[in-house]
């Protein structure tokens, strides 16, 4: 009996920092990575893609043939020349790829045998300005995102809090406990850096997280979340802890990237090294790998992916980019997913019982096998249609926001409505699950990104 009281007390006590998310969905996919970590071979090519940095208008600082060091600026933001994107390796610029209208597509770097890092100094400055300038100069600033809009943070802003995401709820996401293993010192130093940037640093971790790096992290307010994806999305954490109002600014960063910042302040060097999960049914052996942001993935894929027609995703199946077999790992990517491309048409697929078809609804009879895992392909399973079904998104959307109404206001480019309906509180990734289960196959993430861009252009 006393134990019940004790537990009740515990729950009441914890309730302020423990948040149970009810709505959401964990996709039942095959190809979950094991906890084993492997070194991947050092690649012979790197590339930076400006399109990966939301809101950044790139201006090149290098030309083909230039030699760069790791940490040296490759391009910067035209509208804010303090924001630099720096090279993850030392080497030679071998190509600058441009797309239509001379849009900057990629800057390709051939790495040196031995990586030569710029030393940004080992001292830990006390003044906020010096800390910011060190982050900006090294390029590590690009790891900090801001809300609203979900773009690179603006160093001139004063955020009301910094949210560190120490969770992994999306499919095959890298568990921070594995990714941060051995980087305790860096992580702690990184949190210290964030603390000097804002009055409030919040670390969100899973309710059943056991890794001491996270559970005993010093210098951050600890919050625990449990529930299906998107319980690990930063927007969910913000909405539960300190919702964004109009005019508020919040910065966000992932726990892995905090360690990169910490390493910068301890060693003076910018190491864009991460331990990332490589999952999906296309992997010979799904597990973790040591990689560096921007690296060529060709060798990795040749070695680790089964033969066949696969989609190579830098990121998760929900939000990642299709990079192709010869692609480069995203600068900010924290995982790799390989799933089969959809190939065949499906004879009368919409009429038959569909025992083997995955659906969040129960419209196919696969719901009779609730524990089955699926090898989902990239098939759309239908065609794009007008919004017809209502109340569908709400089931996987744990925000106090009306998703359909917000999407319609975005569609109509009604800025006032967007604000009223809470567009500041979300970023495209929050609509990823809605997009997956959408009957009408609407490109929701693209719509939300457009809406945020329209709003950004209007407000700035």
């Amino acid at each position: 009996m006393p134990r019940i009281f004790f537990e009740a007390f515990l729950i009441l006590h914890m309730s302020k920092t423990t948040h149970i998310i009810q709505k959401g969905l964990n996709l039942p996919l095959v190809g979950k990575p094991s906890d084993k970590v492997n070194f991947s071979e050092f690649p012979n090519s790197f590339a930076l893609r400006p399109s990966e940095f939301i809101g950044l208008n790139p201006k090149l600082n290098v030309k083909v043939g230039d030699k760069v060091k790791a940490g040296e600026c490759i391009f910067h933001d035209k509208s804010n020349d303090k924001i630099l994107i720096t090279s993850p390796v030392s080497g030679e610029i071998t190509a600058i790829d441009r797309g239509p209208k001379r849009r900057l597509d990629a800057i390709v770097i051939r790495p040196d045998e031995k990586c030569d890092y710029i030393n940004f100094g080992k001292e830990f400055p006390i003044e906020k300005e010096k800390i910011i300038s060190k982050l900006l100069l090294s390029g590590a600033w690009s790891l900090l995102q801001m809300r609203p809009y979900g773009c690179i943070a603006n160093p001139m802003d004063a955020p009301k809090a910094i949210f560190v995401n120490g969770m992994a709820s999306s499919p095959f996401a890298s568990k921070p406990s594995i990714s941060l293993n051995g980087k305790e010192e860096f992580f702690t130093a990184g949190l210290k850096v964030l603390n000097s940037l804002s009055n409030r640093t919040i670390l969100s971790i899973s309710l059943d997280e056991e890794s001491k790096i996270l559970t005993q992290a010093s210098g951050a307010e600890l919050h625990r979340f449990s529930g299906p994806h998107p319980s690990g999305n930063t927007s969910v954490h913000i909405s539960k802890i300190s919702p964004i109002n109009k005019g508020d600014i919040v910065w966000t960063i992932s726990a892995q990237d905090v360690a990169i910042i910490g390493q910068l302040f301890i060693s003076g060097e910018y190491h864009l090294d991460r331990v990332i999960a490589a999952g999906g049914s296309g992997m010979k052996e799904p597990r973790y790998f040591n990689v560096r942001g921007g690296q060529s993935m060709l060798g990795f894929f040749n070695e680790n992916v089964k033969p066949g027609n696969y989609r190579f995703i830098s990121g998760s199946v929900l939000t990642g980019n299709n990079i192709g077999k010869e692609g480069y790992l995203g600068y900010l990517s924290k995982q790799i997913t390989i799933i089969p491309e959809g190939e065949n048409t499906d004879f009368l697929g919409w009429v038959l019982p569909g025992f083997g078809k995955y659906s969040f609804s129960k419209a196919y009879f696969s719901w009779l096998f609730p524990n089955r895992k699926y090898d989902l392909t990239t098939k759309l399973n239908g065609e794009e249609r007008a919004f017809v079904v209502t109340g569908q998104y709400d089931k996987v959307f744990p925000f106090d926001i009306f998703p359909n109404q917000l999407l319609k206001s975005i569609w109509a480019e009604d800025l006032e409505k967007m604000e009223e309906l809470g567009i500041y509180e979300i970023v495209p990734e929050d609509f990823a699950l809605c997009e997956v289960i959408c009957t009408s196959k609407q490109p929701l993430q693209e719509m939300v990104r457009k809406g945020l861009n329209v709003l950004y252009a209007e407000m700035n």
Binding site: F402, Q405, L421, C438, T439, E446
Partner: protein
């Protein structure tokens, strides 16, 4: 399946670049119905749910089919019973007979075919001029329209009502997903007001033409239970018969049991909103109980009789069940918010029974109640959404202090 694919492939050049270009939406509709296309996700999430609009619509059709088949048997049964060929005592043995089914099928199948041709014709024309694919919404509307009609409805009236509904009810608002009114009920409302002598009264619900082709002698009344209530305050049908569905009425509306099964299927698959169905039930019960309370104060004995019937009579007679399960739950014309769905459904049940009881000109009120609530749904949603907006504004003001 290969040969079907080959036929489609050989026809493709003619409809994409050749002379038959206007037929492309039709071709595309047939092709995608035979083979779910292998389009891949190229923006956003890389994996997608197996559900699409076609599956959603076919699920509703699955739910409708038992009531439709039953309707065919019932049309034949009511006919043969009216012309005196059936012995009342034998009951069910005389219901599920081949004769009954064939009679019903001969009446109903042409109505379904005409509805689909008329409706899809308009849809395909608009798909062609607006350059989009044919939407699947009409798959359900095309089945609902004949199911809400009396069995003897002339086919040209069915066609005109359907064309009116698709044109004025749907396409002028921008097509599927944009309409304010439920298209199937728009068709029924059009038929009801344009051809009242074929849509209401005592004579339309049962085909009474004898084998020799003559109309049955006068004096036979084929009034529906609600028609009887409106005129006399009582009915000759039992609630049990009505629950099973062996009473006169529109083709698909009579069997509460099979509609209930369809409703359970829609709820189980998550396609139909249980909130709307349940709240419509609450609404119908609420107004019935209120009527029971005030019944003794009514002046005319007919009104007293109609007002004092127990609530479950209202659920099994008329089209309350059919309307609630298949009409009110149309997601486009219903309330779009979850809170709104409770209000929307409740008022449909409430107003439907109220119109039914108080207006002798309209022995059934569900059609008007749903169309009225279709118009009101955006208003309900507005206030629900406004609540969310206000909450956000309040948070802003508190944080500013």
């Amino acid at each position: 399946m290969k040969f079907l694919q080959n036929i489609l492939d050989s026809a493709r050049p003619a409809v994409t670049t050749g002379k038959l270009k206007p037929l492309y939406p039709l071709y595309n509709a047939i092709e995608t119905m035979l083979f779910v296309p292998n389009h891949n996700a190229n923006s956003g999430a890389h994996v997608r749910d197996a559900i699409d609009l076609k599956r959603t619509m076919i699920t509703v059709i699955f739910a409708l089919i038992p009531a439709l088949i039953f309707g065919m048997f019932n049309a034949g049964y009511q006919h043969y019973k009216a012309i005196g060929l059936l012995n009342d005592a034998i009951g069910w043995l005389q219901f599920f007979t081949v004769d009954n089914f064939i009679f019903g099928a001969i009446k109903v199948v042409p109505m379904i075919v005409v509805t689909y041709i008329a409706g899809l014709g308009v849809e395909i024309y608009f798909a062609y001029i607006n350059k989009h694919a044919v939407n699947e919404g009409f798959l359900v509307s095309g089945l609902l329209i004949p199911m809400t009609m009396p069995v003897d409805m002339p086919l040209w009236m069915v066609a005109i009502s359907t064309i009116f509904a698709v044109l004025i009810g749907k396409e002028v608002f921008g097509g599927t997903g944009m309409n304010i009114l439920n298209p199937a009920l728009t068709a029924r409302a059009f038929a009801f007001f344009a051809y009242p002598s074929f849509m209401s009264g005592d004579k339309v619900w049962i085909n009474t033409t004898t084998v020799e082709g003559e109309a049955l002698v006068d004096g036979f009344s084929g009034a529906t239970a609600l028609g009887q209530y409106a005129s006399t305050g009582e009915t000759t049908y039992s609630a049990w018969d009505a629950f099973l569905g062996i009473i006169p009425g529109s083709i698909g509306e009579t069997s509460t049991l099979l509609i209930l099964l369809g409703g359970i299927y829609l709820i189980a698959t998550g396609i139909g909103s249980w909130k709307i169905m349940l709240s419509s039930l609450f609404g119908a019960i609420a107004i019935s109980l209120i009527f029971n309370l005030v019944a003794p104060n009514m002046i005319s004995p007919e009104q007293q009789g109609f007002l004092s019937i127990p609530f479950y009579f209202h659920l099994v007679f008329g089209s309350w069940a059919f309307s609630t399960v298949f009409m009110a739950t149309d997601p486009v014309s219903a309330s779009h918010t979850e809170k709104g769905k409770w209000i929307y459904g409740f008022l449909i049940g409430f107003l439907g029974i109220m119109i039914r009881v108080f207006n002798p000109a309209y022995p059934e009120g569900m059609m008007l109640a749903i169309l009225f609530m279709n118009v009101m749904a955006p208003l309900i949603d507005h206030y629900v959404v406004e609540g969310n907006v206000k909450k956000r504004l309040k948070r802003l003001i508190i944080s500013a202090k």
